[in-house]
């Protein structure tokens, strides 16, 4: 559904010099420096997939989305959305996609939300049944009626985002591109937004590409992850696979009899070089260990030998840890048999 082949985007940036004399010099001489925002990215996302587009600030996420939505033309390479090159056939592409840029409104600034929806209804030729169905959904989940006839420019960020989300889904698009769709939303509304897109996916098979600083958005919506770093794809696969790339594992357990939790922590520190243990607020013991120094067999074997375990589980590494590691640079290849 979404294909990128060697997709590249360069920006020409005028060199500016600091200071008053510098800006005069800039006015006269036009020196440019080329910055490659997206560096030959290739990927293919199947129809009906829900993918998180992940990367640090400046990794080229937004630039890629702007090419996939037809807003910008690539410097080299190409991309296809539902078989269309978006920047060459903008109008046909626009019918198939829904877009949210959390930082930039796409609504009519001077108009109320109902007026904007009436325009969208005509612009996209939305059938009456679809329009009525979707509007009922937005009433229920986003409380869209509460926005009333206030012009968009007078809405709060949270109110505006509700309208942006609804506007991006109103015409039942085949593909949804959401760039930071939940900024300014409280927990209840975030939940509603996730429900909306998951519902569209379940009922219509909508393909989703999402970027978000809120990792719980990603966890709640996406099955797959596409990770870019320095303008290149460093991971494409399921979110689960991505989590298994974490370089740290942990085990949490409860034990009966024997030494108290503090003594257990000391015993683990002495007996398992590289691992660190701590007591959780619930009185359990948590062991964290680097996946390249210790295997889960070594850790569990050690624990089973020494203590009488009453309960034990290995929590999945959380996305934040994995991403922090990626953003710092260097993602280790996926390891096999890492999970206990």
């Amino acid at each position: 559904m979404i294909v990128a082949e060697g997709l590249t985007k360069d920006f020409r940036i005028a060199e500016r010099r600091p200071g008053l004399v510098g800006s005069l010099a800039t006015l006269l001489s036009r020196e440019h420096r080329t910055v490659r925002a997206v560096d030959g990215i290739s990927f293919a996302l199947p129809a009906g997939s829900k993918t998180a587009y992940i990367g640090a600030n400046g990794a080229g996420k937004s630039t890629t989305i702007k090419m996939l939505t037809g807003i910008m033309t690539p410097t080299a390479g190409r991309c296809l959305v539902d078989g269309i090159e978006p920047y060459r056939d903008r109008r046909r592409n626009a019918r198939a996609i829904g877009v949210v840029f959390g930082q930039r409104s796409q609504l009519w600034w001077d108009l109320s939300v109902p007026d904007s929806f009436q325009i969208l209804r005509r612009v996209y030729d939305i059938p009456d049944t679809v329009y009525a169905r979707n509007l009922a959904l937005y009433r229920e989940l986003l409380d869209i009626d509460a926005l009333g006839t206030t012009p968009v420019r007078q809405l709060s960020l949270g109110q505006r985002m509700r309208a942006e989300i609804a506007a991006s889904l109103l015409h039942d698009p085949k593909v949804v591109f959401w760039d930071e769709p939940t900024i300014g939303l409280d927990m209840v509304l975030k939940e509603a937004v996730r429900t909306l897109v998951n519902r569209a996916h379940a009922e219509l098979g909508t393909t989703v590409l999402l970027t978000s600083h809120d990792l719980s958005d990603i966890a709640a919506i996406c099955d797959d992850a596409l990770v870019v770093d320095g303008g290149r794809v460093v991971h494409q696969g399921t979110l689960h696979d991505l989590l298994r790339r974490a370089d740290r594992r942990s085990v949490v357990f409860e034990h009966r009899g024997g030494p108290g939790p503090d003594a257990v922590v000391r015993a683990i520190g002495a007996g398992l070089p590289g691992a660190t243990a701590s007591v959780t607020p619930e009185g359990r013991v948590r062991v964290d260990y680097p996946a390249d120094a210790l295997t889960s067999r070594q850790v569990l074997g050690f624990l089973l030998d020494r203590f009488e375990l009453a309960d034990c589980y290995a929590p999945e590494p959380d996305l934040e840890t994995v991403l922090r590691q990626i953003y710092r640079g260097g993602v280790p290849a996926a390891r096999d048999g890492g999970a206990a």
Binding site: F11, N57, R91, R92, A94, R95, R104, Q106, R122, D125
Partner: protein, 266 residues
């Protein structure tokens, strides 16, 4: 549906209706704008009157002929104003603030989507009304008796003039794709267009050439007025070519701008 001409017309009318509806929100702004405009045209008329109190003719033009020319200028400018005022926003801030993208994600031609946000701008209605009044009033005073051919040509002349205004505006507004804002350039061009409301014969040859062949505002009022007043078709013969070329140049620059658009920010 909106791909067919009928569908687009319906969409245009709907958006125009929305535009008028929006006026309700800016009623005071509208009243101030119209008031200021009427005062300006009123002063212009008075100033012309004062000049002609002292001299019977200027460069061969009588008082009513000058007002006729001013009326023609207002008609073409008003028709353009009615549809293309959003180009000012393009030159002023749409590129700079990264807002322009919204015209590229709708299944509507981007230029149509852009212009439609300010269809039926009220200032344009005022200019058309005052322009029509000046033309009819001074035309009657001059005892003009247009033949059927001239009557048939009048709507075309106004349309061509409006298209020239629109082309120049689109050209300078499109520069913002390269320069981020192009407000000063567009303002300069608009100020030059003010000269088109007076007889070209008043100006130095260099300004006359500029207004005829570079920024062809002469064709928005002077050429049609000379034809309607004196039957002089010397300049008018060039009108179709000038209109067509202006439009082509503006649309070409607009298209190039679109393809190099860089949405700023994240």
């Amino acid at each position: 549906m909106s791909a067919t001409p009928g569908g687009r017309l319906r969409l245009a009318l709907f958006l125009g209706g929305v535009g008028l509806h929006r006026l309700a929100a800016y009623r005071l702004d509208f009243l101030l704008g119209s008031g200021a405009f009427l005062i300006r045209v009123g002063l212009q008329t008075v100033a012309v009157g004062v000049v002609f109190r002292h001299v019977p003719a200027v460069a061969g033009w009588s008082y009513h002929q000058v007002l006729f020319l001013l009326g023609c200028a207002l008609l073409t400018r008003g028709l353009d104003h009615l549809f293309t005022d959003q180009l000012w926003e393009l030159s002023r801030k749409l590129i700079q603030r990264g807002e322009f993208y919204r015209y590229l994600i709708r299944p509507v031609d981007p230029l149509f989507a852009l212009l439609s946000e300010r269809f039926f701008h009220p200032d344009g209605i005022g200019e058309l009304a005052v322009g029509a009044f000046l033309v009819v009033w001074s035309g009657t005073a001059l005892g003009l008796d247009p033949g059927p051919l001239q009557w048939a040509l009048v709507p075309l002349l106004i349309l061509a003039g409006a298209l020239i205004h629109a082309s120049v505006k689109l050209f300078f507004a499109s520069l913002s794709f390269w320069t981020v804002t192009s407000m000063p350039a567009l303002q300069t061009a608009t100020q030059l267009s003010e000269f088109a409301g007076y007889p070209l014969d008043l100006y130095h040859a260099s300004l006359r050439t500029l207004l005829t062949w570079v920024l062809p505002f002469a064709f928005t009022a002077y050429a049609p007025a000379v034809y309607l007043l004196h039957g002089d078709t010397g300049l008018l013969r060039w009108l179709p070519a000038v209109t067509g070329l202006s439009l082509l140049a503006a649309l070409a620059l607009w298209r190039r701008g679109l393809s190099r658009y860089e949405m700023t920010g994240s």
